[in-house]
Symmetry: C2
Subunit: 419 residues, 2 copies
């Protein structure tokens, strides 16, 4: 028997799905039956346009046209062409976004470039809650270029910058993630960027958890440098190439710490001297992994005719609804993700001491989220292919898992080292 409050939630889901029907893009994806996929913030689902595009890249372009494809199928220009396709999703004019290499490599690259752009800078500000890779890369580059790393949560940035200014320490760059990977907390990119500029520093943003889900407006916000991965809300496939953004105004002075022939002004002159290409092309590193890159390119079909603002509106409705449904069905639930729209990325993070077991028990019920140590049940909401009705089903599954103690199954007692 369905309770009244469950019926109310179902009615509300139906009404919201009807109201948001225009942004239901499920037909642009291939989704397995019987699964509610809440991990699109880790690996985006498969866009319907990808299988044929990849098969064509393999059989026709590589297999038949072979080496000629570098020209005839535009392989050589793919990193900047796909970058230009991605640019509107990031609020960037053409010629500033490039696709290729991993996020790790791209962050290393832009931090080095930042050091070149701010030769007098002595400090790099980072968020101690950043994704581990960001912290490792920041520490590494800082050691190489002689920066001191100052840790400051984004909401403490005003105090941090004021203290550094009072000490007369010039800040080279502030490097933050737009969305906290654990909590889903959305940081104020426009305000923090402004603040960073007022301190004379460069704003470097990691957009892994916002690109494709949240308007970033890189140009309008005057961001200097940004990176992000292609496999989360951009749905580019496992380990899809990352992207890098270098604002036009910095390109002439952008020094590439990883120079390869692909970023040379005249690559086929095969010159022994490196002479950087004009524009964003100088950020190229090595040969791009084309099968993965062309998959990402095809995946961007999802955004054809779609404004990321509409995706964001749908996401806010979905995440607000998911939180409400959990609050109603599992009273007393603690959340790491903020309740306020303006502070919330595209995920709902539940805090629970048995988070690992909960995630596993939900997966056994076909609700795929993920666990983030030590106690976070991360429910990613990729708006284009999720409905309010599915999120109700996920909340019901969470209620049932907890009610039946399924999360306490001894099989979940030992966490694997990898997952």
């Amino acid at each position: 028997m369905t309770s009244t409050r469950e019926q109310d939630l179902a009615d509300r889901a139906r009404a919201l799905d009807a109201a948001h029907a225009a942004t239901d893009l499920r037909d642009r994806f291939v989704l397995p039956a019987g699964v509610i996929y809440l991990d699109g913030n880790s690996l985006g689902a498969l866009p319907a346009s990808v299988p044929a595009a990849v098969a064509d890249a393999v059989a026709r372009q590589w297999g038949t046209d072979l080496i000629a494809s570098w020209n005839s199928h535009g392989w050589w220009q793919a990193p900047e062409r796909t970058g230009d396709r991605l640019a509107p999703v990031l609020g960037a004019a053409a010629g500033q976004v490039l696709v290729g290499e991993s996020t790790t490599v791209r962050l290393h690259q832009v931090l080095h470039a930042a050091a070149g752009l701010r030769p007098d800078g002595r400090v790099l500000v980072v968020d101690p809650g950043a994704f581990p890779t960001d912290l490792y890369v920041s520490a590494g580059v800082a050691e190489q270029v002689g920066w001191r790393v100052v840790e400051s949560a984004p909401d403490r940035l005003p105090d941090t910058l004021a203290a550094l200014a009072a000490d007369g320490v010039p800040v080279a760059a502030v490097s933050y993630s737009h969305v906290d990977f654990r909590t889903g907390r959305l940081w104020d990119l426009p305000g923090l960027t402004r603040m960073t500029h007022e301190a004379g520093a460069l704003a470097v943003w990691d957009l892994c958890h916002s690109a494709g889900a949240i308007p970033v407006d890189l140009d309008a916000n005057d961001v200097d440098l940004a990176v992000g991965c292609g496999y989360k809300f951009l749905n580019g496939g496992p380990g899809a190439p990352a992207f890098v953004y270098v604002a036009h105004r910095h390109q002439d002075s952008f020094v590439n710490v990883l120079p390869g022939w692909h970023g040379h002004a005249e690559p086929f002159a095969m010159s022994a001297q490196y002479s950087p290409a004009p524009g964003i092309v100088r950020a190229r590193v090595g040969s791009p992994p084309l099968l993965s890159l062309l998959a990402l390119d095809a995946a961007l079909d999802v955004f054809d005719g779609v404004d990321v603002r509409a995706v964001r509106a749908r996401s806010l409705s979905l995440t607000a609804y998911l939180r409400t449904a959990i609050e109603v069905l599992v009273p007393g639930t603690a959340f790491a993700s903020p309740a306020a729209d303006e502070l919330r990325g595209s995920q709902v993070s539940v805090v629970h001491p048995e988070a690992y077991g909960i995630v596993q028990a939900l997966i056994a019920r076909g609700v795929i989220g993920d666990f983030r140590t030590p106690d976070v049940v991360r429910l990613g909401v990729a708006a284009p292919y999720l409905t309010h009705a599915q999120l109700l089903a996920a909340a019901l599954a969470l209620r049932d898992v907890l009610a039946a103690g399924e999360h306490l199954d001894p099989a979940y007692a030992e966490r694997p080292t990898v997952t």
Copy 2:
């Protein structure tokens, strides 16, 4: 009417193809009809095992199994698993080869690691004829770590090392390519490595033009560090991930200049401090581009049950035959590639002032080679999928192109900036 010498060449091709029938692996590839493909040293042909493997990775692993594939399909371990599959091709025991990132990134990484392994070294020796990227990366790393770059062709290395020793300058590393990309000259990896070690330096090898074509015997030759690309004689597809080799004895001291969570000892602990994984895993950088990586993995099926020595024997027969056929059919041809087996990689390079036009005219006849500035017609010989009969056809095409002056077609007067 076929001339006697042409008939002799045809007879010889038939006899050689019969003698080498055991290493004719054309049925392991999908090759377009009507094409003689002499650019496998730039982009290897499509192995027959790849299309289904990639389709499975897209539709079943990504599309259906989604995030679970990191465990259930072994995505997480793919870089080291594919590295271990590749290891025998390189003469390396397991646990020393890793796949992922571009060659540019890998060379940057191992040169930095070399600096850490030889903290007292002051000089990096490079070949001025190296592939441009190698020179750019070498110069960049040298500037970062405070090395002086000393240029020395490999055959001058004894003198160079003697002069540096006489001046009391400690050499950190000697970084060479096994095969010269223009001329196809094969350098003496065992001897040069020995000489490098006698000077107290590390031997760093770029195997782009030998991996999969020529025995490298990394372990037996005591090589320290090596890199190479996956898309030439390894047939991994356009921009396939590169590989890196770190000898067991250096792994504990290997410092990764590009540290990411994938190379962490406990990645899912999400620690703010970087603690490198044991073994080759610490060389991991970012998320690997899995569609491209799994294509490379499937491509290695070509080497199942195949000793690279047998590939090399076939290649030597093919390249010797191609040279002879050209000498017979186009008397007076100048070659950049050496005649002696022990000095020749897996290509024949013809030198001609109209090289660009010749390459284009050959392509128009279905013989695909490539041009390397300023005057090289590069005819790559990927032994597994070429026959002596095909190489005779290529030599005949070259003769006919030159006889008819097809290479002087005004359409070829202007070289595109990209190709």
